[in-house]
């Protein structure tokens, strides 16, 4: 695969490590009363769609950026690539 890095342009996916579901950006509040439930859900349950999937990739053999890819799991087509820090900072955590 080729990932269109938002800063560096097209890079071979071999340079990256995939972590998985971008919902991991939405870490719950550890002090909330339902933290046991929200952390279980956060850590263990996945939507796992056959279709558009938002997921985290790390440019480990490159600039060490964490990226959020929007990718179709049926075709591997990549629809969007964003810097994870931009996604979080702009509030659109997922």
């Amino acid at each position: 695969m080729i990932i269109e890095h938002p800063l560096l342009g097209p890079r071979d996916s071999q340079e990256f490590t995939c972590l998985g579901d971008a919902s991991l950006l939405q870490r719950p509040d550890a002090f909330a009363g339902d933290a046991a439930d929200t952390f279980f859900d956060y850590q263990y349950l996945r939507d796992n769609p056959a279709g558009t999937h938002r997921e985290l990739w790390y440019h480990e053999m490159g600039d060490r950026s964490w990226l959020v890819l929007t990718r179709d799991t049926r075709t591997h087509e990549i629809l969007a690539v964003e810097l994870a820090s931009d996604v979080v900072t702009s509030g659109g955590r997922s």
Binding site: S13, Q14, T17, C18, R46, E55, T75
Partner: protein, 420 residues
């Protein structure tokens, strides 16, 4: 076993002499009935085995298997055919050992030669720490009644002189061996269970896609399909690879991601590799089929995928490991690479459990170890469906284990499916 219609050498002689006109369909293609006691969703290895054991061991007569395409077309038809029970944890080992025992009697049970071949599974170790971990595992196997041997480098070299003992990046120090492990002709498993189930009255319905579950008052009363509604007392889903997609129709989110695992086969070669070998310092495992092809694989591609195909980095990674471990295979040519969809669970272990919906049962999360589990998975799922209690070897495969902190994590990789 020489009953009418049975398979045997004698029958082959008789048919051969009479133009092979007497062979009957291995399974029928019946029209679906309006209602069954048990509907199994998924005509893969696990679904067919479930139906077979429901009929043969639990005496259930009203069973249907619904398959959206052709039976055996999922992971039972695209794997590397390995069977073994070399597990560490008490939640896993009794189950996989039960499975291995079922494999050992499978052909006589099914009257179908699936070519169960116990040529041994060799897990190589390359450091003292890895040896210690294998020692712990081997002891766990023996304590659970399985077989295991720990070979040092000299013993291993005597059995497999072609391994790269002298010029590899990581030294080969020895291996944990399970002699009873080996390989099975994968497609034949699906066909054998299908034929066995069919002969016991199970309806195997191909080209029948389940599109939804009919749930009334918290109870599942049947399935919607492209061939109409089919009522069922109990519905069991065994659709590993598609678990999330199918169970979403029942409103469930699962602790599962779908990933692609690639595998590879070479042209037919005269026998060179006796058993199954797994490299402990890279991602590579290999065996040689009865046809002579080298069948090998390695790691998953690491990203979620339903595409049933992978990419080059893993191909290269696998071959780098293979060439480092056994440089004699360099001039063997790969003829085909393929990919299957793996239900990767959050601890690397499967789930066989009832769901929050009454009458709906789930079997999945097999990661890339589902093939060897086929007989026990079918048996235990049949047991759960028939008795509503988990089989004694499958008590740990519960859906709520993550919430309760009872993970069955052989690798210790944690809640990251692509690492299991």
């Amino acid at each position: 076993m020489k009953k009418l219609g049975g398979y045997s050498g004698f029958r082959i002689l008789r048919e051969g002499l009479t133009g092979n006109r007497g062979w009957r369909p291995a399974w029928r293609d019946p029209e679906p009935q309006p209602a069954y006691d048990f509907v199994i969703v998924g005509g893969g290895g696990h679904g067919l085995a479930t139906a077979y054991y429901l009929a043969s061991r639990y005496g259930e007569a009203s069973v249907a298997v619904l398959e959206k395409g052709w039976i055996g077309g999922g992971n039972v038809g695209r794997n590397t055919t390995i069977i073994r029970s070399n597990y560490l944890l008490p939640g896993n080992e009794p189950f996989y050992e039960f499975s291995l025992k079922l494999w050992e009697g499978l052909e006589q049970d099914l009257n179908y030669n699936a070519m169960v071949s116990q040529r041994g599974v060799y897990n190589l170790y390359h450091s003292d720490g890895q040896r210690d971990a294998y020692r712990r595992r081997g002891n766990a196997m023996i304590l659970h009644g399985a077989d295991a041997e720990l070979l040092d480098a000299a013993q291993l070299r005597a059995e497999m002189p072609f391994l790269n003992f002298d010029n590899g990046r990581f030294p080969i120090q020895g291996a944990l061996v399970q002699r009873r492990g080996g390989t099975v002709r994968h497609d034949a498993v699906a066909w054998g269970y299908a034929r066995g189930a069919d002969r016991r009255g199970v309806d195997i319905i191909q080209n029948c896609e389940v599109t939804g579950f009919r749930i009334q008052n918290g109870r599942c009363i049947g399935v919607e399909t492209n061939r109409g509604f089919i009522a069922a007392r109990k519905v069991g889903c065994a659709v590993a690879g598609s678990s999330s997609r199918v169970m979403q129709a029942a409103g469930m989110r699962l602790p599962i991601e779908s990933h692609v695992l690639q595998a590879f086969v070479s042209e037919g070669l005269k026998p060179v590799i006796p058993g199954v070998v797994t490299y402990g310092a890279g991602h590579f495992y290999i065996s040689q089929s009865d046809k002579g092809g080298l069948v090998f694989g390695g790691d998953i591609d690491m990203y979620n995928s339903y595409a049933q195909r992978g990419n080059l980095p893993v191909v290269e990674d696998v071959c780098e490991g293979g060439m480092t471990l056994m440089p004699m295979i360099g001039r063997a040519r790969m003829v085909r690479m393929w990919g299957g969809i793996m239900d990767m669970s959050m601890d690397g272990s499967p789930i066989i459990d009832h769901t929050p919906v009454d009458g709906l049962y789930f079997n999945g999360g097999w990661c890339y170890g589902g093939f060897k589990a086929t007989p026990a998975s079918g048996y235990c799922f049949a047991h759960l469906l028939a008795t509503d209690t988990p089989h004694e070897t499958a008590t740990a495969f519960r859906l709520d284990r993550f919430r309760r902190g009872m993970m069955i994590d052989e690798k210790g990789s944690g809640a990251q499916p692509n690492l299991h």
